[in-house]
Every structure is written in C-alpha cells, then in structure tokens.
C-alpha cells in the first residue's frame, strides 16, 4: 500500500508537467484562444471583450491559478461545436476510444508475443524471417492507410464486414450503459444481436491498431527472448532436465516479459496517437475524432481537454506498467 502511494507520488511530476505544458500551449503562445472564440471576422474590440470574459487579460500567474482551480473543479470549458461542457463530451466519448485501443492492444499482444517467442526459439528459421519482415514493414505502415486498405478489402471487395461508420450499424441501438464498453454492456444486458453488431464494427479498427502496435512488441519480445534463452539460468534449467514447455514458458518467457512490459509504455505512446487517426478513418465516436472535429472548427477548449485527457491517461498507463513490473519482478519490488 505504501508502495502504491509512493508510485502515485512518483508520477506527480509528470502530471504537473502535463498541466503546465497544456497551459503554456493554450494561453501563452501566440495562437490564442480569444481569436478562436471570436471567429475570423471579429473586431479587435470584441476580441478584447472575449479576452476579458475568459480572463485572458489577467497576469499570467493569475491565469495559471484560475486554470488550475478550474481543472480541479473538472471545468475544461465549453465546446462551441457541441454546446456541451468539454468534460461531459469527453466522458461520453472516452469509453469508445478505450474499447478500441484496448482491443487493438490485445490483438497486437496476442499475435506479437507468440510470434516473437517463436522467432527467438527457432532463430534463423522461416518464422524468424517472417517476424523480421513484419517488424520492419510494421513500423513503416501509415496507420490511416492500412485502415483504408482493410476497409477496401473486407468491406468493399469481400463484404465480410460492415461499413466503417462508427460503433454500431444503423439499425442497432446502444446497450444500456454500464461500463460504456459496448461489448461488455451488451453481454451484461444479454443483447447478443447488439453484441455481434458492435463486434463486427470493432474488428477492422482494432485490427488496424493491432497491426500498428504489433511491430514494436514483436521486436522487443524476440530480442528479449533471445537474450534470456542465452542466459546461464536457462542452461541450468535444461541441465536439470526440465521439460521444454517449463524451460521456455516458466523460465524464459517470464523473464523475457519484463522488458516487453516496460516497452509497452512506448507502445501506448504510439497507440494513443494512432488512435486519433484510426478514429477518423472509421468515423469512430471517440475522443480522437472529437478532437479532430474541434481542430478543424478551431474550437480550442475541446482540443485542450483532449490533450490533457490523453496525457493524463498516458501517465496513468505508465503508472500501471510500473506496478505490473514490480509485481512480476522481485528485484524491482525488494530492491528499492
């Protein structure tokens, strides 16, 4: 418990940095919020008026203080596009993004980890070459482009999957909200028709994200598995006659997973960014497409809220990774 609190405290600097940077980006730099709000035809006078209204004419420290107070009250401003408080909008759309990102991550891990293991165990064989090509090609894929290719093949050509238009087809209605994850909510409500519709809509965007995140995970799994397989304790395990499965899974993989988990931090950085692009391709009603719409409409508050949300999510994800790592690695647990 004390450890948990300590870790939480450890991520405070990152949170502080995130808050300062979002403040600086939106209030201090030349492209200022008042111009956004006033619109392109505004006179200098009306801009000044809006500045006063938003508190932008105050000294910077005071603005910063007000900004932090507002943040702690959950006040992220209003969206001009939707007419709703930004916090409400984000809260409503976050589950869509989370469901997509997590599914993408599961796809990636489900393919990349076994592939990386196989490539390391059978180094120099066919599966290793496949892994190498996938890894190099994977990091070169523009995620928005692979999404479109998948849509063309699986929707337009083969008609296996529905059109890339959101989380449900036009005839389904969303399940009663419990978690906001359609797959889970539909299962809870027992609405299997809805579940199937949601799953069908989810396959392509999740596969797109998964393909994207696959490369770094497979690469690090292979490298770390290779390093572990060459370690002396694996030789001991073999010399003790332990079965192949025990040696590779219990002894090698558990050790090899530690660097993989650490790398997930970087993977999440990529994944959260790629999420924005994938949401745009698939008209996915998440916070990424919300931000893109706001960007195009020069609507400042939602963009700021989005950046803040993403950054806080990322800090929390890194915190989780750190805790998982400590749970799995006794050296990290007892060392410090």
């Amino acid at each position: 418990m004390a450890g948990l609190l300590l870790r939480l405290a450890g991520s405070l600097p990152a949170l502080a940095a995130v808050i300062v940077v979002t403040f600086v980006l939106t209030r201090v730099l030349p492209g200022d919020a008042a111009t956004y709000f006033a619109g392109p035809t505004a006179s200098a006078e009306s801009i000044a008026q809006i500045k006063a209204m938003l508190g932008l004419d105050r000294p910077l420290p005071e603005q910063f203080w007000n900004y932090i107070v507002a943040l702690f009250h959950g006040n992220l401003g209003m969206s001009l596009t939707t007419g709703q408080p930004v916090l409400t909008d984000l809260a409503a759309r976050l589950p869509a993004s989370a469901e997509l990102t997590l599914c993408g991550l599961f796809v990636a891990i489900g393919i990349a980890v076994p592939l990386g293991i196989a490539a390391a165990v059978r180094q120099g064989k066919m599966v290793d070459h496949v892994c190498r090509v996938l890894v190099t090609a994977g990091v070169s894929l523009p995620v928005f482009f692979t999404g479109l290719l998948l849509v063309y093949v699986f929707y337009f050509r083969l008609s296996w999957l529905p059109a890339p238009l959101g989380r449900l087809d036009a005839f389904a209605s969303p399940p009663p909200t419990v978690t906001g994850f359609f797959l889970i909510d539909a299962a809870i409500a027992g609405e299997w028709e809805t579940w199937r519709s949601a799953a069908a809509q989810l396959i392509l965007p999740a596969a797109t994200l998964g393909l994207f995140a696959l490369a770094p995970i497979a690469r690090i799994t292979r490298a770390s598995m290779l390093a572990v397989l060459g370690a002396e304790f694996i030789r001991t395990a073999r010399a003790s006659g332990l079965s192949g499965v025990t040696v590779i899974i219990t002894y090698a993989l558990r050790n090899a997973l530690l660097p993989v988990i650490t790398t997930l931090g970087m993977v999440f950085s990529f994944l959260l960014g790629a999420n924005v692009l994938v949401e745009k391709v698939f008209a996915w009603p998440g916070i990424g497409s919300y931000a893109v719409e706001a960007l195009i409409a020069s609507d400042g508050a939602p963009v700021q809220g989005f950046v803040l949300t993403m950054a806080i999510l990322y800090v929390l994800l890194n915190l989780t990774i750190d805790m998982v790592n400590r749970a799995l690695d006794p050296r990290a647990r007892r060392g410090s």
Binding site: T236, A237, R238, A239, Y251, N255
Partner: protein
Amino acid sequence: MMAAGANVLAVDGLSVAFRTRAGTVAALDRVSFTVGKGETLALVGESGSGKSVTAYALLGLLDAAGRVTGGSASFEGDDLLRASPRELASIRGRRVGMIFQNPRAALNPIRPIGRQIADVLRRHAGLGPRAAKAAAVEKLREVGIPDPARRAAAYPFELSGGMCQRVMIAIAVAASPALLIADEPTTGLDVTTQAVAMDIMARLAAENGMGTILITHDLALAAERSQRIAVMHAGHIVEDAPTAELLAHPRHPYTRGLLAATPTAAGTLDDLHSVPGGLPDLRRADLPPCRYAERCERRVPGCDDPLAWRELTPGHLVACWNPA
C-alpha cells in the same frame, strides 16, 4: 562392451566439432576417461582446453554450432551420445546433475529458490506441488542452508554467492543422480565457502555412491578433492592417472610444466607463466597431431606420428611419444 563393473561413466573416443566461419574446429579429439562409483575425477586444464565442452557434449547441451562427431559415453547401460533428446531430458537432472560456475547467474532471478528446486523434484521425483515444496525445503536443509523454510521463498539476488552455490548443489542433486558434473564450482567463492561447498559435494558422493566429474583450472583443488586427475590440453586428454601418482610422477611434458610452475600444487593455472606459449589455434589446417608439440621442449621427430595413448604403468595413461 564390459567396462569395469564399478564404473558409473565410461567415455570412449568422444570427439566434438564446432562449425565456425573459418571452418570446422575439432574442439574435442578422442576424449576417453572413466568415473567410478563414488569416485571424483578432476578434469584439469587451461580455459579453452575443452573441459566444459566435454560436460556439455555428455549432456546434449552443446549449442547449435557444436556436434558430436564420434565416440561413446556408456552411463549405467545407456549411451549418452546416442540417446534421443527425449531420453536425454529425462536423464538430465534425474541421473546426471550439473553444477555451474557463477551460481547467481545460473539461477532463475525471478523465481523463489524453493520453487526452482521443487521444479526439478516435480519433474523427476514425481511429486505433487505440495510434496515438492516440502521436499525442496528438506533439500535446502541438506546443503546446510539455515532456516530453510523461510529461505525457500528467497530470490537469488537476496542470497550470498556461497548460498546460491548451495542452492545450485541442491538443484543438481535433488533427484539423487548417479553422476554429478561440477563445472568450476568454486570460482568466485571465498576460500571458506569453497571448502564448505566441496565438503557438501564430497558428503553426498560418499553417502550415495555418486560419481563426480570436477571440472577446474585449480590444480590445488583437484589435488585435494579428487581420486583421479585427467589433464586436458587443446581438446586432448594428455595424461590421466590416480591423483597421488600424477602428482608424484607426472609423465607428460605439459603436466610437468604445470606442476613445476606450482611445485606445491597450491596455485592455479591462471598464474602459470612457465608453460611457454598458449593454446594453439584449433582452426588451423596444419595442426600437428600432438597439439602440444609446438610448446614442447621434449619434442622429438616421432611427435609427428599420429597421437596415441599409452598405459605406461597400470592406470597411468599418457599421450606422448617422449614421456619423462
């Protein structure tokens, strides 16, 4: 083939080759020796002489580039060199145990030591999870680890090097093997701990009639702890004799060089300066039949004949055309 009845292991003509970019390397050439029941055979030589390769070849643990090219290794009625990977996996840990140098790195860093011993017991003694756990604590007690029930939950990084080596020994002998291969078991341990570790191995050997191959570059250790010594040089066993006999009457020039360098047999081969030259490059195409010939001060024209092992006195074998 009927070897002496009391032999646990009889290795005959073991040859190993490694593929490298510069061609094939004959890392071991016709290595032969026996280990009797309860006997400790010391394999002595400089690093790179092929001691560890011998051990790995016997257990089928050579890395992908290495291959056994000839010979047999008769172990309790099985030929280790012809056993299938499956058979070998059930021999390793159950009938042959192995101890490695650098015990801390040789143990799984993120698995409690009790679990690591229990893994071996579950595999080889057919114990269930609970029984294996209890038996692992017992094994820890046998190798003299204080408070074994609590220590079973410890990780290698929480133990001293000496404690790790005891755990290593416990893993190697968990299933009461007939043969123990100890590869530089005392490297990196302080003198007291070295003695304790060797005492534990000697006790277990005496109690169970376990044969031991002690691989070391430490002549003093070999002299003190073995019944026979086989001296290795560049993939050949150049001399093989009972320990007292070898120390008193070394016949091979290389052995003599080693002993002359450490007259009291108290030094290690690492600080030998009086054996001139180093190990020959085994990749060379023009390797002489006797791989010591180019370092040898007793070289005679006959040395260019094919290498042969001769029994000069009963039980004392030498590979030399001009023994002292």
